[in-house]
C-alpha cells in the first residue's frame, strides 16, 4: 500500500488543562473524502487546525505525504483550506482573491489569469470575476473560497464546516458538487462537520470524535451499521440500545424494526403502545412504550401515498425484529 497522505501519530493539543486533541492516531489515504465528525468541542476543528499549521501540537507527530510537519509554518505546507466563514479578502475582487495564492507562488501573470479563469469556471462564477465579496450571496462566496483553495492544486484540501453557512436547499446541491469536484480532480479532502447527514452522504471514510479522541473510524456504512460504542450508535442516526443477554449492549436501528397490529413472525417481538408519531414525509418515526417500561423507536418507510393501515397515537402495537437486525456493541 502506498504511503498515506496524512499520518497522525499520538497527536495531542492541550488548551490549559483541557486536551482538545488527545493522543489521536489516524491515517488518510490518497484520494479519500475523509470526514471528521463530532459535536461541538470534540476537537475536530483543532485537529484540522493542527493539520493546517495554525496550532502547534504539544506532542505526537504529523506527517503529510511522508514529510514530518513539525515546525513547518502554514505558508509552507502543501495544504489548502476552505475556512468556515470563508475568510475572503474584502478589499480584493473575486479574481484577485482566487489569484492570491498563485501570486504568492510567483506564478507568471498570464498563467495566473488562465488558472484563475479556469477555477472560476469550475465553480461556475466566471461572470463574477470583478465583483467584491460583499456583492456576492452566501453560496457564491462559498464557491469563491473553494476556487481560491483549488486553484493552488493542493495535494490536500481541508474543509472546515464547508456547508454550515448555506441554507438547506443550497446545502444539498453543494454537497453533490463537492463530491463531484473531489472525484474529478482526484484530490484528497478532509472535512470537518458536526452534521452526521453531511458526513454520511459525502465521506468515503469518517472518524467520529468525542472529547478529543477518535472513537471510531470507518466507512459511513460501517459506522452506521456496526458502531463500536454506545456513544457512536447514539450519535449517528437513531439507535435503540437494548441490554443483550450476555451483559453487553445491542444497537437496533428504527428501520430494522417492523411495526404491526398483530404479533409479527420475527425472532424477537415486543408489545407496546404508541406514545408519539413523527411524520417526516419519506418515513414516519413511532415512539412505542413497551409493557416493561422501555421506550423504543421504530420507523416505517412511507412507500404508498395512501397507506392501507395507519397507526394512531395511543394504539397498541407489536414490534418485531430479526435475529441479525441489531449490532452487539463492544462497550
Amino acid at each position: 500500500m502506498s504511503e498515506p497522505i496524512i499520518r497522525i501519530e499520538g497527536l495531542t493539543k492541550r488548551f490549559g488543562a483541557v486536551s482538545a486533541v488527545d493522543k489521536v492516531d489516524l491515517e488518510v489515504a490518497r484520494g479519500e473524502l475523509f470526514a471528521l465528525l463530532g459535536g461541538s468541542g470534540c476537537g475536530k476543528t483543532t485537529l484540522l487546525r493542527l493539520l493546517a499549521g495554525f496550532e502547534t501540537p504539544d506532542s505526537g507527530r504529523l506527517l503529510i505525504d511522508g514529510h514530518d510537519m513539525t515546525g513547518v509554518p502554514p505558508h509552507l505546507r502543501p495544504i489548502n483550506m476552505m475556512f468556515q466563514s470563508y475568510s475572503l479578502f474584502p478589499h480584493m475582487t473575486v479574481a484577485e482573491n482566487v489569484g492570491y495564492g498563485l501570486r504568492r507562488e510567483g506564478v507568471a501573470k498570464t498563467e495566473t489569469a488562465t488558472r484563475v479563469a479556469q477555477a472560476l469556471e469550475q465553480v461556475k462564477l466566471s461572470d463574477f470575476a470583478t465583483r467584491r465579496p460583499a456583492q456576492l450571496s452566501g453560496g457564491q462566496r462559498q464557491r469563491v473560497a473553494l476556487a481560491r483553495a483549488l486553484v493552488k492544486r493542493p495535494k490536500l484540501l481541508l474543509l472546515d464546516e464547508p456547508l454550515a453557512a448555506l441554507d438547506r436547499k443550497l446545502r444539498e446541491g453543494t454537497r453533490f458538487e463537492l463530491v463531484r469536484l473531489q472525484a474529478e480532480l482526484g484530490l484528497t479532502f478532509v472535512m470537518v462537520t458536526h452534521d452526521q447527514e453531511e458526513a454520511m452522504s459525502m465521506a468515503s471514510r469518517m472518524a467520529v470524535m468525542e472529547a478529543g479522541r477518535v472513537v471510531q473510524v470507518g466507512s459511513p456504512h460501517e459506522v452506521y451499521e456496526r458502531p463500536t460504542s454506545r456513544f457512536v450508535a447514539d450519535f449517528i442516526g437513531i439507535a435503540n440500545i437494548l441490554a443483550a443477554p450476555d451483559g453487553r449492549w445491542l444497537a437496533l436501528r428504527p428501520e430494522k424494526i417492523v411495526l404491526s397490529a398483530a404479533p409479527p413472525d420475527t425472532a424477537h417481538t415486543a408489545a407496546g403502545r404508541i406514545v408519539d408519531i413523527a411524520y417526516e414525509g419519506g418515513r414516519s418515526l413511532y415512539r412505542v412504550a413497551l409493557d416493561d417500561g422501555h421506550v423504543m423507536t421504530a420507523a416505517t418507510a412511507n412507500v404508498a401515498r395512501i397507506p392501507d393501515i395507519s397507526f394512531r397515537r395511543g394504539e397498541s402495537v407489536w414490534l418485531g425484529w430479526a435475529e441479525d437486525a441489531g449490532h452487539l456493541l463492544d462497550e
Binding site: P74, H75, N80, S87, A134
Partner: protein, 279 residues
C-alpha cells in the same frame, strides 16, 4: 426628530459659521491701529495679496507643512506598531494598554510641553544624561531647534495616531491572515497585502488628526522651537498680538483653513467614493 438634527447645525452655525464670517470680514478690512477694535471694515484684498507676495509668509507656510508632514510620518511609524501590538494583545490587557496611551491627556497639554523644556534644556535631563554617560562631552542644545519642535509634536500627537489605527486593526479579522498564510503568504507578505490595505482608513484618519493641527500648531514651536523656525501658527500669533494687525492675522487664518481644508475635503470625498465602490 427635526429638532434633534437641527441642534448640531444651530451649534455649528453660531459657534463656527458666524465667527468664521467675522474673521473673513476682518480679513477683508484694513488695519486701523488707533481704533477699537483696530479694524476698518471694507473690501480689500491687500492682506491676501501680501500673504502671497511676501516671502516670509510663504516660507512659514512651507516650514509648517514640512514639519507637520515629517512629524505625521514619524507618528505613523511609531504609532502603527503600537496600535498593532495593542490590537494583538490578549483582550484583557487591551484596556490597560489603551489607558496608557491616553494617560498623558490627564495632564494639561501646556504643562507637558513645559516639562519637555526641562528635559531638552542646555542643562536639562537629556544633556545631563549625555554628559554623564560619556556619549557626548559637550552636547549641543536641543531646545530651540527644529528637532525639539518635531519631538514635541510627535510626543503630543502620538495618541491621535494610535487610537484610530487601533480601532481599525482591532476590527481586522484574524482569519484573513490565516487564509493568507494558508495560501502561501509569508507573515510579512500577509501584512503588506492584507493588514496594511485593510487598515488604510485608520492610517488616513490618524494622519489627518495629526497633520491638520500640527500645521497650525502654535504652543509647541513657541515653547520648544527657536526664533529661526517660523511656523504659520506662530506668525499668526505674532501678527495678532505683537503687531496688532488683526486683518492680516485673520487673512492668515482664512488661508490656513482654505489651503488645508480644501485638499483634505477632496481627499475624503474620494475615499468615500472608493469605499462605496468597494461595498
Amino acid at each position: 426628530m427635526k429638532a434633534v438634527i437641527a441642534l448640531p447645525f444651530l451649534w455649528l452655525g453660531v459657534f463656527f459659521l458666524l465667527p468664521f464670517a467675522l474673521v473673513l470680514a476682518i480679513a477683508l478690512g484694513i488695519n486701523a491701529p488707533d481704533s477699537v477694535p483696530p479694524v476698518e471694515l471694507g473690501f480689500s484684498l491687500k492682506n491676501f495679496v501680501l500673504l502671497f507676495t511676501d516671502d516670509l509668509y510663504l516660507a512659514a507656510w512651507l516650514t509648517s507643512l514640512r514639519i507637520a508632514a515629517t512629524s505625521t510620518a514619524v507618528t505613523l511609524l511609531l504609532g502603527y506598531p503600537m496600535a498593532y501590538a495593542i490590537a494583538r494583545a490578549a483582550p484583557e490587557c487591551r484596556p490597560l494598554l489603551l489607558m496608557l496611551v491616553v494617560l498623558p491627556f490627564w495632564t494639561s497639554f501646556l504643562i507637558r510641553v513645559y516639562a519637555w523644556m526641562g528635559l531638552l534644556d542646555e542643562n536639562g535631563l537629556l544633556n545631563q544624561f549625555l554628559r554623564w554617560s560619556g556619549i557626548a562631552a559637550d552636547p549641543a542644545p536641543i531646545l530651540g531647534t527644529e528637532w525639539a519642535i518635531l519631538l514635541g509634536i510627535v510626543y503630543a500627537y502620538l495618541p491621535f495616531m494610535v487610537l484610530p489605527l487601533y480601532a481599525t486593526l482591532e476590527k481586522l479579522d484574524a482569519g484573513l491572515l490565516e487564509a493568507a498564510a494558508d495560501l502561501g503568504a509569508r507573515p510579512i507578505t500577509a501584512f503588506l497585502t492584507i493588514t496594511l490595505p485593510l487598515s488604510l482608513p485608520g492610517i488616513v484618519a490618524g494622519c489627518l488628526l495629526v497633520f491638520i493641527p500640527a500645521v497650525g500648531e502654535f504652543v509647541i514651536p513657541d515653547l520648544l522651537g527657536g526664533t529661526e523656525t517660523l511656523m504659520i501658527g506662530k506668525v499668526l500669533w505674532d501678527e495678532f498680538f505683537t503687531n496688532a494687525d488683526w486683518p492680516l492675522a485673520s487673512a492668515i487664518a482664512i488661508c490656513l483653513l482654505v489651503l488645508l481644508v480644501g485638499p483634505i475635503a477632496l481627499f475624503q470625498r474620494q475615499q468615500a467614493r472608493s469605499l462605496e465602490r468597494r461595498s
